[in-house]
Symmetry: C2
Subunit: 412 residues, 2 copies
């Protein structure tokens, strides 16, 4: 099936899904969750094919992301059930005013329509994204990476089959079965069908979508996150926060990648930090001053200041002032999450106001930039752009609004 046929079917599905109430969407999602568990064997069988093909091509960590187990499928089903229970954002009246001429204006949350999602090798993304889209009343067109082709085919088949037992159009969920690069490029140009395209994956995928898409895009995920240790920081708290933000899960976008430390405390804080990070064998990359304090650190290359390591590697720079820290972040950050550690409330306030990132922290780990941790529910990604939604994009952020205006013959 061609992409424009998928698009036309999705548009039609979105048209009916828009008017469904929450009970119908909830029932459909519960069917999907049950079907994933019931068909776990079949999904695992298809996943095995992908793993065999990929075994010699992918790194161990990529292979791990690709691999499904009974336990992981159960988690996928549980995630779908959790989304089913989330309050329905659609139809919510966000603002209501009555104008002097008697017009009643209701700003009302509505679905976005058709959402395209391009992702890479994690098959669980398939069910996560589909569930979030449906809950917000959107049809979705999913395109996973070729590594997960058989797994995605199986998961989507199971989900669509479940939809036939619901009141929703089965075309609310569709998979692009063509995994060549050309199909992704064509998808980026589906104006007229896609209301938004969300890339979910590494920096390369996201850049390619941002550069080539003609449809509106939500840029997600890349996180070159900074922690600034102010001269008024509690050194133990700073060490705890950096240790947590760097090592609790280095492969994710909210992990810290850089530490900026005030010169006045560098010689006391950095050795403390290095000692903690050594527990996890974190490699340190410093500027000249940081390297002079930390004999174990290697010099960082200029391009590393912009880099997302996603690994047990941390860049460290000594700065002369909070202003220098803010300027450095402005220049090198991907504007995902940045933190200041300080006991000085004025310094904290300055940092929180001036740093222009999706999440800015005072005395906490950057690892909290996450839909679940922030109480926003499951997320489709972390937006690092400023239009539409910023930070975790949950069900609520997958909606738009329209103005519903009620009159009794008003003219202008």
């Amino acid at each position: 099936m061609s992409l424009s046929e998928l698009g036309a079917r999705a548009k039609e599905a979105a048209q009916t899904l828009r008017t469904k109430d929450d009970i119908e969407k909830k029932q459909a999602l519960i069917q999907i969750a049950a079907a994933l568990t019931d068909n776990a064997e079949e999904i695992l069988l298809q996943n095995q094919k992908d793993i065999e093909t990929a075994r010699d091509k992918l790194s161990a960590s990529m292979l791990d992301r690709l691999t499904l187990t009974k336990e992981r499928i159960r988690s996928m089903a549980e995630a779908v059930s959790a989304v089913a229970q989330w309050p329905d954002p659609v139809g919510k009246i966000l603002e209501e005013t009555k104008r002097p001429n008697g017009l009643i204006i209701q700003k009302t949350a509505v679905p976005l329509g058709v959402i395209g999602i391009i992702f890479e090798a994690r098959p669980n993304v398939t069910s996560d994204c589909a569930a979030l889209c449906i809950k917000a009343g959107n049809a979705c067109i999913l395109r996973g990476g070729k590594e997960a082709f058989h797994s995605n085919m199986a998961i989507v088949r199971v989900m669509r089959e479940a939809l036939t037992r619901s009141s929703l159009d089965v075309n609310c969920i569709q998979l692009v079965e063509d995994t060549r690069r050309e199909s992704a490029e064509e998808m980026m140009k589906m104006t007229g069908y896609l209301d938004v395209l969300i890339p979910r994956g590494g920096a390369g995928l996201i850049k390619s979508v941002v550069d080539n898409a003609k449809v509106p895009v939500i840029e997600t995920g890349v996180g070159n996150c900074h922690i600034y240790i102010d001269k008024a920081a509690n050194p133990d708290m700073a060490a705890d926060i950096v240790f947590n933000a760097k090592t609790s899960r280095p492969s994710v976008c909210n992990a810290a990648e850089k530490v900026l430390v005030h010169r006045d405390v560098a010689s006391t804080v950095l050795p403390l930090l290095a000692k903690r990070l050594a527990e996890k064998e974190v490699q340190l990359r410093g500027d000249a001053e940081a390297c002079s304090i930390l004999p174990g650190a290697k010099p960082a290359a200029e391009e590393e200041w912009s880099q997302e390591y996603l690994d047990y590697v941390l860049g460290i720079k000594v700065v002369g002032s909070i202003d220098e820290a803010i300027r450095h972040i402005e220049q090198y950050s991907t504007h995902h999450s940045e933190a200041i550690v300080t006991e000085d409330l004025q310094a904290a306030d300055k940092f929180l106001r001036s740093v222009d990132s999706a999440a800015v922290y005072h005395n906490a780990s950057t690892r909290f930039t996450d839909g679940g941790e922030m109480g926003l529910g499951a997320e489709i990604g972390i937006s690092t752009q400023k239009l539409h939604a910023r930070g975790p994009m949950g069900v609520d952020q997958l909606t738009s609004y329209k103005y519903v205006i009620k009159g009794n013959g008003q003219i202008r």
Copy 2:
């Protein structure tokens, strides 16, 4: 000066503007309003140059849009003063939660950053857009049409001069002084400098920006607006609403372009409508059935159903049901504003839910889709896309948000 130099200066200006309080922004806008009035003579002189160059090239209506008068400059200044008085959206805490671990999460409104605006021949757009951007804490890069080159140069010079008497960076307002097509194309690719690009003008300009931009765009303005006259409509109300929506100002995007009428009432309502519209010599273009009822109507070509006439022309189609009306709108509308006229509340509810446009009306003229009329203040344009903002984009819609998270050492 190159566009990337303008971009770098705007980014720097945005960085400081972000932290300014409302009093400073208000004072700067009041300075700008006063400067426009004080320098009216100079602006008119430069405008005269543009008019002389354009006299033989532009239509009368385009020439009228280009022309400034002392009165119009006073209106421009008044518009800037009105924006100055609008409540400051920046810093507003939109949501606040305390998590079980003690983290305080504040979803806080922040400026978008740097806004690019590409517009055509109306010089008043220059001061309107600059004022809206500044009030929301954004630096702007303006690029007007070549027809208004001297006028725009003068207006921007006056506004920047006024900024030197304020605490804001003068580079909060910059004009692209190169009016060749290439400069617009380059502007569309200024990723790294522009947070959003807003085209303000005709369908051609908007399509070109949507097709070519690599930066996030807000699509504005094109309005192929429909009025559906239901079988349960009050015929006199229907005639009043259509007459108003078509003829009160046909050149604007919220003017009605098409009427869909239910077959059961077509033969009574259409002649009534035609009689009213004849007062303003509106040309009627109908489908076969409408033409058979209205001898004065000419057959509409297929492509006209998608067309925005912006003139005293109205397309009329007879439909067999409300569902057919909804499907027609789904297919041909630009999703700006659509209205139903009916006394049947169930039909109204169905229309308001199913029609996916920025503004949907029951028993009122589409002409109310306007920031001022809707109580949203002055607007930079009417968004017809679903990401970020929909409908009138006022000061509030020129902001984004960030999550400000306050802890006391929380780790995950």
